[in-house]
Symmetry: C2
Subunit: 276 residues, 2 copies
């Protein structure tokens, strides 16, 4: 998917919501556990219930890998379902991969070509040749970790260089030259919304994938105040708050309500900001 199509989807749906598909087998409603593929059945129900309110889905690889081969089958079915039934949703393989050039090329093949995800998240520690192989596939995106929303983000991402720039700023400044705002995005956690002002000075036009609104406590209003661009420029991810809104037979209905609430808040913000 190219940037123009993504922006058109956001405008048409009045939403920049991404639903994280982190199907934890210990949290999936009991009544699904008897089915042949509980994870896929859960995802399918969540997708069917929320697709109107979001523009993107982000399966988190760890939750599939934890189930071994069965988990990979569920992932395969999920991405095929999305690609066939909802081809206008932007799909993100939340894989946090990244390795030396020939290995990253293999990961690119796995996620962007074989499974046909629109994008993949990548850790920047290994530098240019760990990221560039993902940029060679047309209309596909790499989403580089810049500032994450977890506690451990404080360990290294804020280390100040002798030029007074912090590591995440180095990552943004250096890596933005490897591609463009047409094939690169960044992960920026919502828990540090004020950091978005400085981040927008470095990457004024890149889309940011923002976790941490909801379960991790970030504020949507704050993120938009500091991060919204002329093209929206934000994908706000919510996983647990939507997926596990209810653990009963009404899980999909409750997930839809939760997604709709977020979409309505987004619609309001887009109106305030005259974005249409």
């Amino acid at each position: 998917m190219n940037k123009q199509t993504l922006v058109a989807q956001i405008k048409s749906k009045k939403s920049f919501l991404c639903v994280g598909l982190d199907p934890d087998i210990t949290k999936i409603p009991n009544h699904l556990l008897g089915s042949e593929d509980p994870i896929f059945e859960f995802n399918k129900a969540i997708i069917d219930a929320t697709h109107e309110y979001c523009v993107s889905y982000k399966p988190n690889m760890a939750f599939y890998e934890a189930q071994g081969l069965e988990g990979w089958k569920s992932l395969d079915k999920t991405i095929n379902y999305l690609n066939e039934k909802y081809p206008n949703h932007f799909t993100i393989a939340d894989a946090k991969r990244g390795d030396i050039g020939n290995t990253s090329a293999m990961y690119a093949k796995a996620f962007l070509e074989k499974m046909k995800f629109d994008s993949i998240t990548v850790a920047p520690y290994m530098g240019s040749d760990s990221v560039k192989p993902f940029l060679t596939v047309a209309n596909k995106w790499v989403i580089v970790l810049a500032l994450t929303s977890n506690e451990g983000a404080l360990d290294f991402q804020f280390i100040k260089g002798d030029d007074h720039k912090q590591l995440f700023e180095h990552v943004l400044e250096t890596s933005k030259n490897w591609g463009s705002d047409e094939n690169m995005m960044y992960v920026v956690g919502a828990t540090k919304a004020e950091s978005l002002t400085d981040i927008r000075k470095i990457v004024p036009n890149h889309f940011l994938l923002v976790p941490g609104v909801g379960a991790q406590g970030g504020s949507l209003q704050e993120v938009c105040k500091y991060g919204f661009t002329k093209d929206c420029g934000l994908l706000i991810n919510a996983s647990r708050s939507i997926l596990y809104a209810s653990s009963g037979t009404d899980f999909a209905e409750k997930a839809a309500e939760e997604a709709k609430n977020m979409q309505q808040e987004m619609k309001g913000i887009m109106k305030q900001l005259n974005f249409s």
Copy 2:
């Protein structure tokens, strides 16, 4: 596997060689391509031919993922084969994972519990809670990226903080407190052997997993000169130079020769250093 057992294996085999299992389907000998599972057949032949000369095997996840579901089946068969037939070999899931706490816990489950690898490589960018979940499983190891051997290592790993320490030194100093030299190792590329002197000041007793000897040009003698410890403390990885020593029907035989050459060189070094 605990440290004592690993060191005993090294002493008994006079080898600290790790064979990287990166089965590239485009490089596997033609005569294997007709079999039901060429990747597993290739791995099995390589393992059977080299096991005497090495103490560790390191499947690189990307090469399996690139084959989709079939690739995961090959991986599953490979790790099961190793665990059953060669339980004294230290197994490394070269996965470069790492994510927020609940997600890293899922990866730990996938690789250390479900697939029963002895260890997994992890990228440090997301900090403590991305690494610690891998340290909760007894006798399992996390291998954190410190200084990699690729070109892109220069992009961020050498950034000097205002305390004059470089990023990879920060990673070593901070992360070594998350576990101990009984459950943590570090990836340190052989292409910068002289850096090992400074690294050994920070982590005098940790095992280092060293890629970049052979195909990437590092010298075994140099690495040992600066990195060898009282417990050996080194696992030297070689992948392509062994796997693809021949592309003919003699590939396993040639792989064994290559592995034996490295083992003999290691044996010589261990003798020089009075390590027995």
